[in-house]
């Protein structure tokens, strides 16, 4: 459902959209039933001359069932949603699959700094490539990112990946993603970070490994902020 509004481009995007759909079906059912009964009752019991309202206390078991049974069913739906939510959460946020590459993402007012491994594929070596606002990754490879902030709280959000994580000054937060589609996608800052919050956009450039290798070769020897534009 969500993929009709915005494409899915990471391995876990589908599971998050699936969870949203599951919640939509379950709560949508309750919502329609409740609103349906609500309007039906308003219509059925509209004031008519000569008809007095009934005196019901809601204490008899026979009548009380109309509340206690839905009560139990809502609880069951909650348990289903909890289980599904925790499964998705575990997969995206609690476990770390083995990484093909590591990258470092640093938020600052009002730009994203990306430190990516160079030709050797290892982070924190002299051939690392550091850019502002452009993150280059390879389709199908699993990336672990170390997320940091230099000043205030930012949030690293890649909507097509369904990925979001706050960057907190003083901490390094580790996460992961595996892109599944090539293309150029938005990176948004999702936490208000000052007057430049609205221009703190970045771009996620997902390429096949050949194109990515060519980009690395272009940027060798690496210079800091070598690449302002694509």
């Amino acid at each position: 459902m969500v993929d009709r509004l915005l494409q899915e481009a990471s391995t876990f995007a589908g599971s998050i959209d699936g969870l949203i759909l599951l919640v939509l079906i379950l709560v949508g059912f309750w919502f329609l039933v409740a609103e349906g009964i609500f309007f039906a009752l308003i219509w059925k019991y509209r004031a008519k001359p000569g008809r007095k309202s009934q005196y019901l206390t809601g204490k008899e078991k026979r009548i009380k069932r109309w509340i206690t049974i839905p009560h139990g069913l809502v609880l069951v739906c909650d348990v289903v949603i909890i289980v599904a939510a925790i499964r998705v959460w575990y997969n995206v946020k609690m476990q770390l699959p083995p990484a093909d590459y590591e990258i470092r993402v640093i938020g600052q007012q009002w730009a994203w700094i990306f430190q990516m491994p160079g030709a050797d594929g290892k982070l924190d070596t002299p051939d690392d490539i550091t850019t502002t606002d452009f993150l280059h990754v390879i389709r199908g490879k699993t990336y672990q990112f170390q997320l940091q902030s230099r000043d205030v709280i930012h949030s690293f959000s890649v909507p097509v990946f369904r990925l979001k994580q706050d960057a907190v000054p003083g901490r390094t937060i580790t996460g992961w993603f595996t892109p599944t589609k090539t293309g150029t996608f938005d990176i948004q800052c999702a936490e208000i970070c000052g007057i430049g919050h609205g221009v703190m956009e970045g771009q996620m450039i997902v390429q096949d490994s050949a194109a990515h290798a060519a980009w690395i070769a272009e940027n060798h020897p690496p210079t800091r902020f070598a690449e302002r534009s694509r």
Binding site: V27, V74, R162, K164, V168, A190
Partner: protein, 570 residues
């Protein structure tokens, strides 16, 4: 004993003889009805300002860069200040003063048969502190650097350091205003709780109290229990801003996430603090206009208590992706989803109350029913966000924004109008015009849905909050998104325009409306047994009401009339 009598006599003498005269009567009054109206008119004034702010930033979002009529071009700094203060104003200076303070003050003594609050002068102090907080907040918008723009959640380090937020004075003034507002509501809350416990009419047992006073008092208790940590946190934040301490500064051993815990420990119960009064009002209005005994008086009360307790254990669902230990999210997903059970049950009971009724769709009833119908949308969309896995995507998007507007708008606007139109005859002694009331109702509720349903869809499309210009983001500049933003903005303008009908109705009815009888809606509760408007002291001193039964004895088979006022002897 003798001492108590002396105090009583003195209090009485003050009431009767030394009250201020003329216009001062309305400024220095200790009468709960006057204080309620002070809160109400201040809250409505703030609502106009908050609504204007919404108009300005919605125009900017729909037509980026346009010079907004009545404001001018919106700069990013101004945009941030507008959204920050819109949120702060609508919650702290509209929802709370109007729903809790105004209607709490007006209805609690009248509905429980008391001549005034227990502490009338603390009550007056509460409004005065509140008024001061309004002045501080409004001034903060015009100081050097402009109003605070760090969002109503005020996360440090952005809020703590003027090097980051660029509003040194505005940020501190905003914080001081919020703290003063908390002090005002603590004073008011003490009064509500004590009054409900001690001043009930003879014969009124706990289960004979109407829902509105019950809910406002429950809300006050929750507020008192939750606000302490935030006040402590706010003082630390103020120290960080002004004295240069480092409570939230990681470079000096502080932790920015500490603030988030303190803020949301208050912030989530706060949702229920404003929900409960609206719920109580809705229940009273629905019972009156459906001519029905509540389907389950005790069920509503117990579910409200269960919700209050649970609401203290859900706060971290605002922080799933904030960098807390991911294992913690599992606990808070469970508590968050469980809180849907008592709330759903409460709504079921309200709906079931309609069964077997005799429903008249007068304006207050329309508002009350709209509250139930619209609040359900707010309720069910909360489940998406409480499910941690889905929140990874939806957090900080317009889906969140639409969700809480579907809770807060029914609470603060629809609930308020239900209460206002229901008690207007009692407050002012005049009847409101029904036709204008219905035009205003439909003109508010229909555009409301056209504002926020598009925002749900935009949120699902990945549009994040608090971005002043979406043109910088290619994925957010696609035509369907631009069109939805324009639909939302146009609907907002239509809705704001229809509020004029409300003001015309109030002014016209006050001048030319028919005089209100004591009990225009044939209600059971005690406020309908006195004059409209009630005199000082509410009832003549020797005629204070005595209670013989619960508040919802409508349609009783032993009675010819379909209502049975609480004060009629059996």
């Amino acid at each position: 004993m003798a001492e108590a009598t002396a105090v009583e006599a003195r209090a009485h003498a003050e009431h009767e003889h030394h009250g201020p005269k003329g216009i001062l009567k309305y400024v220095w009054s200790t009468d709960h009805k006057i204080i309620g109206m002070q809160y109400m008119f201040t809250g409505m004034f703030m609502a106009v300002i908050g609504g204007f702010m919404a108009y300005v930033f919605r125009m900017q979002l729909a037509f980026p860069g346009l010079s907004v009529p009545g404001f001018g071009v919106v700069s990013p700094g101004e945009y941030n200040a507008l959204i920050t203060n819109h949120g702060s104003i609508m919650i702290f200076w509209v929802a709370m003063p109007v729903l809790i303070a105004a209607f709490g003050n007006f209805t609690i003594p009248l509905m429980i048969g008391a001549d005034d609050m227990v502490f009338p002068r603390i009550n007056r102090l509460s409004y005065q502190v509140f008024f001061l907080s309004v002045l501080v907040l409004l001034t903060s918008l015009f100081v050097k650097g402009g109003g605070f723009g760090g969002a109503w959640t005020s996360y440090p380090p952005l809020s703590a350091n003027s090097q980051y937020n660029l509003t040194r004075v505005g940020a501190s003034m905003w914080l001081v205003a919020v703290m003063l507002e908390f002090v005002a509501f603590l004073l008011g809350g003490i009064n509500f709780i004590t009054t409900l416990m001690n001043s009930r009419a003879p014969g009124m047992k706990a289960y004979d109290i109407p829902m509105t006073p019950w809910m406002i008092v429950l809300a006050s208790i929750m507020f008192m229990l939750s606000v302490g940590p935030l006040v402590a946190g706010a003082i630390m934040l103020l120290f960080d801003q002004v004295l240069g301490t480092g409570f939230y500064d990681p470079a000096r051993g502080g932790d920015p996430i500490l603030w988030q815990h303190l803020f949301w420990f208050f912030g989530h119960p706060e949702v229920y603090v404003v929900l409960f009064p609206a719920m109580g009002i809705t229940i009273d209005v629905i019972a009156t206009f459906a001519r029905k005994k509540l389907f389950g008086y005790k069920t509503i009360l117990y579910t409200a208590v269960a919700t209050s307790v649970l609401s203290f254990f859900v706060w971290a669902h605002h922080q799933f992706i904030a960098g807390i230990d991911p294992r913690m999210a599992n606990i808070f997903t469970i508590t968050t989803l469980l809180i849907s059970v008592p709330i759903a049950e409460m709504i079921f009971v309200v709906i079931a109350t309609l069964y077997g009724g005799s429903i008249t769709l007068k304006t207050p009833m329309l508002w009350a029913l709209a509250f139930v119908g619209e609040f359900m949308i707010g309720g069910v969309t909360g489940i998406f966000l409480g499910a941690s896995g889905a929140d990874i995507y939806l957090h900080d998007t317009y889906f969140v924004l639409a969700h809480f507007h579907y809770t807060f708008f029914p609470i603060a606007i629809i609930g308020t109008f239900a209460a206002f139109t229901y008690w207007f005859p009692k407050m002012f002694g005049k009847m409101l015009n029904e036709t204008l009331g219905k035009i205003h109702f439909w003109g508010t509720v229909i555009p409301f849905n056209f504002i926020f349903i598009p925002l749900f869809i935009l949120g699902l499309g990945g549009q994040h909050r608090r971005i002043y210009n979406f043109q910088n983001f290619p994925e957010l500049s696609v035509p369907w998104m631009v069109h939805l933003r324009i639909i939302a903005t146009v609907s907002l303008i239509v809705m704001l325009a229809f509020q004029l009908v409300f003001f015309v109705n109030v002014v016209w009815s006050l001048r030319k409306g028919p005089k209100a009888p004591k009990n225009p809606w044939n209600g059971n509760t005690l406020e309908w047994t006195t004059e409209s408007p009630p005199p000082h002291g509410n009832w003549p001193a020797d005629q204070l009401p005595v209670v013989y039964r619960g508040p919802y004895e409508y349609g009783h088979p032993d009675r010819e009339e379909d209502y049975w006022p609480q004060n009629l002897p059996a």
